[in-house]
Subunit: 495 residues, 2 copies
Amino acid sequence: MLMPAPEEGTLAKRGALVDALRAIVPGEGVIDDPAALRAFESDGLTAYRQPPMIAVLPSTVEQVSAVLALCHREGVKVVPRGAGTSLSGGALPLADGVLLGLGKFNRVLEIDYGNRAVVVQPGVTNLAVTGAVAAEGFYYAPDPSSQIACTIGGNVAENSGGVHCLKYGLTTNNILGLQMVLMDGTVLRLGGRHLDPGGYDLVGLMTGSEGLLGVITEVTVRILRRPESQRALLVGFPDSESAGDCVARIIGAGIIPAGMEMMDRYAIQAAEAFVEAGYPLDVEALLIIELDGPTVEVDYLVDRIGALCREAGAVSLRASENEAERERFWAGRKAAFPAVGRISPDYYCMDGTIPRHKLPVVLTRMAAMSQRYGLRVANVFHAGDGNLHPLILYDANQPGELERAEEFGAEILKLCVEVGGVLTGEHGVGVEKRDLMGEMFTEIDLNQQQRVKCAFDPEGRLNPGKVFPVLHRCAELGRVHVRKGETRFPDIPRF
Amino acid sequence: MLMPAPEEGTLAKRGALVDALRAIVPGEGVIDDPAALRAFESDGLTAYRQPPMIAVLPSTVEQVSAVLALCHREGVKVVPRGAGTSLSGGALPLADGVLLGLGKFNRVLEIDYGNRAVVVQPGVTNLAVTGAVAAEGFYYAPDPSSQIACTIGGNVAENSGGVHCLKYGLTTNNILGLQMVLMDGTVLRLGGRHLDPGGYDLVGLMTGSEGLLGVITEVTVRILRRPESQRALLVGFPDSESAGDCVARIIGAGIIPAGMEMMDRYAIQAAEAFVEAGYPLDVEALLIIELDGPTVEVDYLVDRIGALCREAGAVSLRASENEAERERFWAGRKAAFPAVGRISPDYYCMDGTIPRHKLPVVLTRMAAMSQRYGLRVANVFHAGDGNLHPLILYDANQPGELERAEEFGAEILKLCVEVGGVLTGEHGVGVEKRDLMGEMFTEIDLNQQQRVKCAFDPEGRLNPGKVFPVLHRCAELGRVHVRKGETRFPDIPRF
């Protein structure tokens, strides 16, 4: 899918804009060569491609502020970008917009063990935060599968999750403060190194805002002590119903494992063929359950969960006996996406969340859809919090398969909403789910979200075309919703 | 302190407004008798008193919507109120405003064990949520000291904390969804029963917004399974430095207790005299540390923390051996505020947060201030997350003592900010700390917060005079901050 063609007059201004940007960001920091711009055309989603008009790679906050103020004044749209791994097209460039890459913001600025806080630039990768504090026995908890590549700035923009978010929360639960730049160039500091600093929770608001409210230039994250012990269980089931029942039993017993992941037969087979993790090949569903904490607690929970698994009908169970084995158990899960990529020319990764107890019905209905669309689906998901990642397998070279895969994906997401779940888990709305927002939110709700957008970027120049199916002009928003309110409850007396 | 006198013309409209309100809320739901209005004059803070112009007690969402739409159209200010226990004057009425009491919204609407969610009306008390699910072995984690009286709606408005927030998070970490009404009467649904539903995190934004953005009419909270075991430790220290050091050692060892509270000599003596909790009377500082989880883990941590306490110089240590003993250990802490009330005619409860490792220096400087102001101070605090509650003891009948207590309090809060902490912990900004917001936020930051306020309540009619030292007209906010941005980074090239 290509974004709309540039507006009239934009290309004429391009040369002058490049010169003005070069006066702010010297050297190689402004890219206008069409071949070089292709490097930015994709946002981790092969189906969406669009090179930007110009790419700018600033290295200081002052440069970010000046670039945004310039674009604001000149009416130029801006798309911020971290590592481009969102999978929903959140950082997809615009043909008539500037792409603002934060890749040069890659320094760890301060490690404050006293406050359990690390201050980093937004282009630092997720894994590098843990890397910076690991020697002292600390780590940063949210761990998206893409953690080698994805950046903290992008994690904040998408409110990223990961295997360990079941116990330790999403990005929003692990961020303490931000520095950000508004579209007009204003630099703001939000939050700090503590809980609730008073005033509105703008840090929370920014987290998951998908680059529509401001450009993040600094992030203060919370770090945790490495637990004394970590063990993983590998549990095989004859069908996904009994695996789902097992998840319900564990949570029902009041146990919150550090992670609880589920893979179906396709995903198990693909992962095992790829990395030889030691997965059982004769089961329909596999749970990988991690426990962490004091050794005495972990060993106790391994036994207790083992009993619950057997009650739920598990046909195989192994507990890691050392760190190497634990890492091997996880290697298959972490490699599941590329592993599926080896058994199919293309795949489309979905992201939705359902109530945990709806897992069996959703899996059954997805299997029926798979038959109807004539496309295989491999399932890998964060079972503990009901976050599904169905991978729809297709071949883009077969006419019509891409379109069928997209239809299949949209039907899965609508099913998530239908059973009481939500459209996203951790990949954001971006371009991909923009047109499905109406399934989830009323027009009244969407208008209030846009009114918040107007409080940050009233002209709608920052990352337009993402998240909202229709972006209203800010001036239009007032009357629409007053009328709605009065329509719903018309019996307001006059005096 | 009284709020400003009514504006010209307001009183003339009062009679007509009462009639119009009675057309919406029938029976006893509209109160205009001056004697009856006195019941609403205080907001848990004896120093601030102001009866409202009119009080309205609606019982349906339609009534709330119609009351707000009416006030919006007629330009009447509205102050929402839960149980009035904020301690910062957040729900202090206005002489020319309508007080909107949510006390009749006191029903538990739905208990959804499958999704670990409970839907309640905002006037349900904090403790009643746990009460509704306790028989099935569940509870609601945030537990403010006022939990018998304070309501969930107020907890959301203030982002309330409590003893167990060290491990289980503040209110913001335990709320899944909201229904709210905007000042113009529009009804919105935010969030649901799951993590991150896509779009902006307006649930997070509402949490802690102190009644300035909308009126909460329904709250969906997350509930947790009761842990298998809970034990409390009572640890005495010869001085507050060693108690502070002990807190640092425990957190440093990677242990997050369910709660970790500290009391100083004044507070210990007062609490023991009041409820006979079994506290040691020969120590300068007392830590109450709670552990919860599987029995095997709790017993292990009791031993481990015992060893850390001895290393830090503890002179006494007792671990609860049964539930009755655990409750007795907590009874003193929970009664600490009223207990201090018995040893002083009046006291002023402060709320600020500091980095944990600054505890010794802050306590030393508070002791010096206490001498300088000639007022005693008793300290009770959530030591685990650095949230202080100094209680300044004074006698309002002694001329000048109230003013000295307020000055002393403001100096303590500025000290919190000076050492890298924040103005509030869990009581909100309200009226009390409004004029100190400038110590914490720049004008740029405050303007952005107000721009968010404008996205919800552009005329500023909802709870004015709280949180912000100056409330700008929304139309004024645009230019101010653009100029600021350009002033800070003036080198934006033109083309």
